[in-house]
Symmetry: C2
């Protein structure tokens, strides 16, 4: 795959190492949204950001921080992989609206309003009842719009997701999820959500996490690519990308943290079970970042054009990030000075 | 009023001073639940507890910390006012179920699941939509039941309040609120809530905060006492007490903090308005703790017996706290060793 082609993954949370960074580079990944927080509070999130910041000093040949689409284009030019900071929960802003601006300054460009459970902003998909967007949630949506931080509803409940699209002045993303009528995971999305996401010029990142795949770990590349073609019919070719949700080399204690945080005295197994509590094995055709080019082959094979394939694998996210990462009202001339 | 009579106020948040402690003592207050947190996180709540802990060293002649009903009886015997630590929000436990036990060890005996807004546990009464009790909320209710920390739903939304009564193994309290059909404040409670509260052997503390009073600051003592008589018919004489919500000598910046915390970039005026943003003036017959004995006179005057008056003004809360402050399964023999 040519170095000039844009390849973007909107969600990864791997056990980061030089091996993984080399794989990203080898596969030609232009940019990856890395998860900085699942349940961490502000101080813990800042510590996670610091850990990431050090990696740019430790691995400058592979990595560079991206806070704008220009940064991503520069990463492509230099043959490095751009890293975009993303939060899978709003726990990082705690109860403080002002922390949206603070975290944006620290590089965060994507934040989920919920992670499975009820948050102070909205309901997660695992709650019995869906509050929709709360009073604080409306304030935070407006503030994220103002700053240029993308709203991500991947783990949110249906009413909350639809309301977020109503309240947000800017398109939002579902960075990693698949359609519920393809695979009825509690995390999967209804056609109503997918249709509205496309209509509002949002983005859907399709997930390669086995619990989101029809047939789980046994899902074939062809089945996945057929689902992509089907979803394009609902959402539109301009609004589809990849959010692999790859959790490479993570020990099972990590998925336990994702599911339970600090909120439960009993153990919740999420998409797993008591007898199968760990991470599920990845499909054989998507084991790590080096398998990314296989997606291109799979999409071409089922009939996507070269152009459409490039849009799905990166160009769409690049355009969306280009529009979404800047503060409201910032013109292109002003953009460069924002990042000094 | 005899020193031996039990007089308990289930909610106060005054600008604490020697003057106020003297007034409490003079009026014969046996115990007062003092608010330790509105929006404070765990660390900030611990700082507030430390500030209170220092007051017991600074004002030993007036005050003593109460962690059990025996402590309250000892306060009565010694002629001091017992202080009970109460949280008006669950912000203090952040996202951590284990902080319920930690805060119980630090003396906290009452906690609201919400304060006006959506919390991680339930919905506040100011939210448009009511989530009911969340996944984390169910865990926290169970944990508060286990530890002996009273669940307070004063600022919660209706469905959340009714569900809390269903999920809790122990009776809960609404420490400071009045009936909505007497005064239709957004904070007032429906008859359905009041009836179920009585049926489940919970406690209602009637509020003297002007925005909860019919006629506001102009409400008369007789009107208030007639409302008490009316509520007794719904809730039952065993389940009524006082939760004055007295905020004596507080500057208006405090009510701004209560209403806005850190969650809003615009200013919310709560029960006030932009032209009337501050604390409302107290009724002339309830200016401070020294006016407590007037309540006794008012209740007697409209026909309550001496016995019923004593139940309303303190005996009911004492019985309720006696049952509610101990960990589940702790027998009376074991109680003393719990507090060493």
């Amino acid at each position: 795959m040519s170095k000039k082609q844009v390849l973007i993954d909107a969600t990864q949370y791997s056990n980061w190492s030089e091996q993984i960074f080399r794989q990203m580079n080898k596969a030609g990944l232009s940019a990856v949204c890395v998860t900085i927080c699942y349940h961490e509070n502000f101080r813990e999130t800042v510590a996670n950001i610091s850990t990431w910041n050090r990696r740019f000093t430790d691995f400058p040949e592979f990595l560079t921080l991206c806070r704008s689409s220009q940064d991503i284009l520069l990463a492509v030019k230099e043959g490095r992989t751009g890293i975009i900071y993303a939060l899978q929960n709003c726990s990082a802003i705690e109860d403080d609206i002002n922390l949206v601006e603070i975290l944006h300054r620290l590089g965060v460009r994507v934040m989920q309003l919920t992670y499975n459970n009820q948050s102070l902003l909205a309901s997660g998909c695992y709650e019995e009842s869906d509050s929709g967007i709360t009073r604080f949630g409306k304030q935070v949506i407006s503030e994220m719009n103002r700053m240029g931080m993308i709203i991500d509803m991947s783990h949110s409940a249906e009413k909350s997701t639809l309301q977020a699209m109503d309240y947000s002045r800017r398109p939002l993303a579902i960075t990693h999820a698949n359609p519920a009528d393809w695979h009825p995971s509690i995390r999967s999305k209804s056609r109503a959500v997918l249709r509205k996401l496309g209509e509002t010029k949002g983005m859907l990142g399709l997930s390669l996490y086995p619990y989101h795949l029809k047939g789980g770990s046994n899902c074939t590349l062809q089945e996945f690519c057929k689902m992509v073609a089907n979803v394009v019919d609902t959402v539109g070719i301009d609004h589809i990308g990849i959010g692999s949700d790859l959790c490479q080399n993570q020990p099972d204690e990590v998925v336990n943290w994702m599911r339970n945080g600090r909120w439960s005295r009993s153990r919740d197994f999420g998409e797993g079970t008591a007898s199968n509590p760990g991470f599920p094995p990845q499909p054989i055709w998507f084991q790590n970042n080096e398998d990314f080019p296989r997606l291109r082959d799979g999409l071409i094979e089922i009939g996507f054009s070269e152009k459409d394939t490039q849009m799905i694998l990166g160009e769409n996210w690049l355009r969306f990030f280009s529009e979404g990462f800047e503060p409201e009202g910032v013109t292109s001339e002003k953009k460069s000075s924002q990042h000094i």
